[in-house]
């Protein structure tokens, strides 16, 4: 999972871009594995992972090794091996251009 890779949800419109990734990390959305290609047919969403994703938000795992940018929002929510990812609050910088 190298930086810049885009992953698509199998259950909704969600798309994420990898900012920082582990070699063998597998990301799920709505309880189903995210892949570089969306499946032809959508899978049902797991209600335990249905809080939705928000465009422009960054999602991180507990130890901060994996960071994903949501580039397209959807109804599913993100997890790795069933553990929900948290949004990361960036420290705002003053606008410089």
């Amino acid at each position: 999972m190298k930086p810049g890779t885009k992953l698509k949800s199998a259950v909704c419109d969600t798309e994420v871009m990898v900012i920082r990734g582990g070699a063998d990390a597998v990301v799920e959305c709505g309880g189903s594995l995210m892949l570089e290609q969306a499946p032809a047919e959508r899978r049902p969403i797991n209600p335990a992972f249905a809080q939705g994703t928000r465009i422009g938000k960054r999602y991180v795992d507990a130890d901060g090794k994996i960071e994903l940018l949501c580039v397209k929002a959807g109804q599913g929510s993100l997890s790795i091996l069933g553990v929900a990812l948290a949004t990361k609050d960036a420290k705002p910088l003053p606008s410089s251009d």
Partner: protein, 497 residues
């Protein structure tokens, strides 16, 4: 990674929000994306190696930037102020290009180069083209932008910024969609400058409406700021000086909405920033330092630091108003000596920078060292708190008998003379020392020109005798380019001639 993602996300999040205003025309993010996609289809079918712009700022700059990105072709905005022979040579270097702008001039300077030439009107008309990209299309990575450096010391170099560099900068410094609906950024830097590119990308990602001024003029700037209630602006110091001069001369404009002004691109005189802070007590000022090769800003002096420095009695805190602030959290900065060894705080050397946004790459070669550090050729030092101070270009150092002399220290002393309005120190050939100090000075209007001996005595009294100018020239004005960069090579040529 591809920078078109920035516009794609804004258009997905709020398609009907107005993202850009230029000469009364208002563009929603949806309309901008649609125009960029149509442009990309036309660019792809033209089969050119570059997409160029030879024009003032307009929506065409934004559409060409994102359209070229979608098509996977490097975008090369050209400096329309260049003289014909210089521009002709650049047109030759990017052939065959898809060029938008001054069609007559391009045809005259670059005939038979296989360019596809479009006027701005024709280019913008293509937005209604039927052919467009499929929604499943993934744009390629690689080179996003190629900028010719201004060449104040040598022939222009073709600096390359990859999608990954620019996107790292944007994702590292801007929060997506952070701007409130009323926020609007007045962009008056030319489209061929890195600040012009960064302004488009940052504002679209923050979803801050862009107010494009075709070319900078202080009265037009004040009018647009007032009529569109601009909340943000970026200016080079020369532009800020001209805006303040108009206000001092009695120009009136409603700048009550202006909450943040960023500046950079050249040395800010302390007098001017202090004046600006006093004139706009409610406005947040940010000093940004960066280079073309670093995808814009690498260090910032923020609003609180400006106000703290202005009101402080501590000389170190006050001096920070003359710094460019601290490096961004996403980049590393080091000061190194001539052998490339890192120097401790307080010692002057060359500024090196490393980070994902740093390209340090030219068409011909990469300037990065093995560990990824980019030697900026800017001289400077870090203070004990990590604030970065600039001390001119490393190439501008005068080497007199093996002793390195920074032009800035001599210029500061000369500017302290009440009759001197502007001063520049450069190396002049010397049989005895290899190089010696030559200074060009501009006498303040209404003042009598001081004796040369008086200026030498002033330098001798403040600095070592090696700094005393061997030659002094009195000029009506110093040569600056349109971005306020002093053209030292022209002053050096003056002493040679």
């Amino acid at each position: 990674m591809n920078i078109s993602l920035v516009l794609q996300m804004a258009a997905d999040a709020e398609p009907e929000r107005i993202g850009l205003v230029c000469e009364g025309r208002r563009w929603s993010y949806r309309a901008l994306l649609q125009a960029a996609r149509a442009a990309a289809a036309d660019i792809s079918s033209a089969g050119c190696s570059h997409v160029a712009l030879l024009d003032e700022s307009s929506e065409a700059a934004a559409i060409a930037l994102f359209g070229a990105a979608l098509a996977g072709v490097p975008y090369v905005p050209l400096n329309y102020r260049l003289a014909d022979p210089d521009l002709g040579s650049l047109l030759n270097r990017i052939a065959p290009a898809y060029i938008v702008g001054d069609a007559e001039r391009i045809e005259r300077l670059g005939p038979d180069l296989g360019h596809r030439i479009l006027s701005r009107t024709d280019f913008l008309a293509a937005e209604t083209a039927s052919e467009t990209l499929s929604s499943e299309y993934e744009p390629p990575e690689g080179i996003a932008v190629q900028l010719f450096t201004s060449g104040t010391t040598a022939a222009p170099k073709a600096a390359i910024l990859r999608h990954a560099n620019l996107l790292s900068y944007i994702l590292g410094t801007v929060e997506f969609g952070a701007a409130a609906e009323e926020e609007a950024a007045l962009v008056s830097v030319p489209p061929y400058h890195i600040a012009g590119i960064a302004a488009l990308l940052s504002s679209v990602y923050a979803m801050r409406r862009i107010l494009l001024l075709p070319a900078f003029d202080p009265d037009d700037w004040l009018r647009l700021a007032a009529s569109e209630q601009a909340t943000h602006a970026f200016l080079v110091p020369t532009m800020l000086g001209r805006v303040i001069a108009r206000l001092d001369a009695g120009a009136s404009a409603d700048l009550s909405a202006m909450r943040a002004v960023a500046y950079g691109g050249g040395r800010m005189p302390t007098e001017l920033i202090e004046r600006a802070l006093d004139l706009f007590p409610q406005t947040h000022f940010t000093n940004a330092y960066g280079l073309t090769e670093t995808s814009s800003t690498i260090a910032l002096l923020g609003p609180e630091e400006h106000r703290a420095a202005r009101s402080s009695t501590d000389p170190d805190a006050r001096a920070r108003l003359g710094s460019v602030g601290r490096p961004l959290p996403t980049v590393q900065v080091e000061i190194r000596d001539e052998e490339g060894r890192p120097l401790p705080a307080g010692e002057r050397g060359e500024i090196y920078v490393r980070g994902d946004q740093v390209s340090g790459e030219y068409r011909e070669r990469s300037a990065l060292d093995a560990a990824g550090w980019f030697p900026t050729r800017d001289a400077g030092w870090l203070d004990a708190q990590g604030y970065l101070f600039l001390a001119g270009r490393a190439d501008d150092v005068i080497v007199r008998g093996g002793e390195n002399i920074s032009p800035g220290e001599i210029e500061d002393v000369l500017l302290a003379h009440p009759a001197i309005a502007d001063a520049a120190a450069v190396a002049v050939p010397s049989a005895e020392w290899g190089e010696a100090v030559g200074v060009a000075v501009v006498v303040r209007p209404g003042s009598a020109a001081p004796e040369e001996e008086q200026l030498r005595a002033l330098v001798r009294s403040r600095l070592r005798s090696s700094r005393v100018p061997e030659r002094i020239a009195f000029l009506d004005a110093l040569p600056y380019n349109e971005m306020g960069k002093l053209l030292r090579r022209e002053i050096r040529a003056l002493f040679k001639g």
